[in-house]
């Protein structure tokens, strides 16, 4: 049984296809695992008697179970986005990505916990409790797709989808020792994906290895007529097969690596070792620069909250969701939103409303939009010289629960290396590159290596990640007792 949980999705699908394994047996193994969730990774999971989608097993993904971040609307299944204000929200429709998954023959195993409305980097902002990191349950799994990352790393799901706005797939993948990818903006439909920052949000896979990431991305990408900004990936996604990195050049931006402040020594050392591996595989590594990348956090924390302040205005207690009753309309609005939103969401709504308010727009929103342009130009320039840009995914390994909750800015800095890519709309993947101890001691914890490429370079990027993954030989299995040493 537990042996089944160690298979990658690709391996299981292959066994089901060849008749060695029954789709239902595989499903049941995970349904049981999910119902024994000790990480608070799931907000909902399929019940024993949950209806089986007939015919799913005959399609591409062979009825394989998948965990879905609770930000994706699922018809008739409560979708909360980690918020109290949507506690009993049962959508009337399926998100675009969910439809693709069902069509490909995947079965929804559960809805995973997340930071409220995807606002957070530690999963401590969920209205439904913290998610624990399977490597060390006293530590955070990262966020905002922390439930998806913990479920995949903790063997509670073979794979999952999440959303990445400033690093919300890559950073938790890095902290949980799995693969996480943010595709090019527009590759996957945003329809039915509850909006945080619409010009940055993008859906992507969280998986045990690079091959699974490719298979999952292939299933979910594509143009959706319900999303005007979706285009899909032209030519689709190829399965990775590359064994070396000969003839490829990799730029290391000093702003996001060597000079990055707050980067732990263990992370730095691991990154250096990984760069050496890249060279051993025939890749050419040299230093480069992304001069405006250090301003990414500033631009991001103006643009994302501004968009969020509008995206979250619909939670007004009128048509759906929570309402705190009152005789006066303004009273009803204000108390509903007071009771329905958590502290971080209120903070970002305030920040976004302020930066859009008359008198401040030019100084904040207007400038941030221009910084965004410069960051994209920096990448364009870099990609004239290099095939890919590589950085550590997170400046630190998983930190302890509560460690940063008192200091919003410190928390925001967890996304220092992952924020520039969504601002430029380009794809990036994080793969586990080994273990390292946090500064000041602690257990050995996963470190992530980030590869970013030009828009729609997903297939090539997956090939590179695949070759590197084999050279690294990372064992993605967390210590069974969930306390790494």
């Amino acid at each position: 049984m537990s042996e089944l949980l160690e298979l990658t999705a690709a391996e299981a699908i292959e066994r089901i296809a060849s008749g060695e394994l029954s789709s239902d047996e595989y499903w049941d193994a995970y349904r049981e695992a999910a119902s024994g969730d000790e990480l608070n990774a799931y907000l909902w999971h399929a019940a024993e008697e949950s209806p089986v989608d007939e015919g799913a097993a005959d399609r591409e993904l062979r009825g394989a179970p998948i965990a879905v971040k609770d930000i994706f609307c699922t018809n008739g299944v409560v979708t909360t986005a980690g918020s109290r204000i949507l506690e009993h929200n049962e959508p009337l429709y399926d998100a675009g990505a969910i439809t693709r998954l069902r069509e490909a023959g995947a079965r929804i195993l559960g809805k995973t916990n997340m930071d409220e409305f995807a606002m957070g980097s530690s999963n401590e902002n969920s209205a439904y409790g913290d998610v624990l990191n399977p490597w060390d349950r006293s530590r955070v799994p990262g966020g905002s797709s922390g439930g998806s990352a913990a479920a995949v790393a903790g063997r509670l799901a073979p794979w999952a989808i999440g959303t990445d706005t400033g690093g919300s797939i890559r950073q938790p993948a890095s902290l949980c020792g799995i693969v996480g990818m943010k595709p090019t903006y527009g590759a996957v439909s945003r329809y039915g994906m509850i909006a945080f920052a619409s010009s940055l949000d993008q859906c992507g896979p969280l998986t045990r290895d690079v091959t699974d990431a490719a298979i999952l991305l292939r299933a979910i990408e594509g143009r959706d007529h319900c999303d005007s900004t979706s285009v899909g990936i032209e030519g689709g996604v190829a399965l990775p097969s590359r064994e070396d990195l000969k003839g490829l050049s990799f730029g290391v931006p000093r702003e996001l690596a060597g000079d990055a402040e707050g980067m732990e020594s263990g992370v730095r050392a691991n990154f250096e070792r990984t760069l050496a591996l890249v060279e051993e595989l025939g890749g050419e590594v040299s230093e480069t620069e992304l001069p405006h990348a250090p301003h990414g956090i500033s631009a991001y924390y103006v643009l994302a909250p501004a968009e969020a302040s509008a995206n979250l205005a619909r939670y007004d207690g009128v048509r759906f969701g929570l309402r705190t009753a009152a005789d006066d309309l303004t009273e009803m609005y204000e108390s509903t939103r007071r009771d329905g939103f958590g502290a971080e969401v209120k903070r970002r709504i305030m920040l976004g409303t302020y930066s859009l308010a008359s008198g401040y727009y030019d100084a904040y929103y207007g400038r941030a939009q221009r910084v965004r342009t410069k960051i994209a130009e920096d990448f364009d320039t870099a990609f004239e010289r290099f095939d890919y840009i590589v950085t550590p995914t997170s400046p630190t390994v998983a930190f302890e629960l509560g460690e940063r909750t008192g200091d919003p800015l410190a928390m925001y800095m967890s996304d220092y290396c992952t924020v520039p890519m969504p601002l430029a709309g380009i794809p990036a993947i994080s793969i586990p590159s080994g273990l390292a101890r946090p500064d000041g001691g602690g257990p050995k914890l996963p470190v992530g290596f980030q590869i970013a490429g030009p828009a729609f370079s997903e297939s090539g990027m997956l090939d590179v990640a695949y070759a590197l993954e084999r050279a690294i030989g990372f064992d993605s299995r967390p210590p069974s007792n969930g306390s790494a040493r």
Partner: protein, 94 residues
């Protein structure tokens, strides 16, 4: 750099009810974050075009073809307060 008054004004705009403690904490936290954000004011961005969309798409339009609307009982089923086939709210002050 952001005072209580500003916090209260923004909270009004955002329809958020804050306690006194929240107002004070918010004033401090927002000031801290904006202080960091302020760094972008040092950049020379005079002739830089603002970016609103990262992909260059234009004229993505939907044909004017009706499709069935949702059953009223379904959409009203989600409403905190429905009456007479409609969504009920406290009357707006005018």
């Amino acid at each position: 750099m952001i005072d209580r008054e500003q916090v209260l004004h923004v909270a009004k705009l955002a329809r958020l009810r804050l306690t006194d403690e929240e107002v004070d904490r918010m004033a401090g936290e927002l000031s801290g974050i904006l202080e960091h954000v302020e760094h972008i004011s040092e950049l020379d961005l005079d002739d830089v075009e603002p970016t609103a969309h990262v992909i260059e798409l234009e004229n993505v339009l939907r044909p004017d073809k009706p499709r069935p609307s949702w059953p009223r009982e379904d959409v009203l089923g989600l409403a905190p307060d429905a009456a007479d086939g409609a969504f009920r709210v406290p009357s707006p002050q005018a």
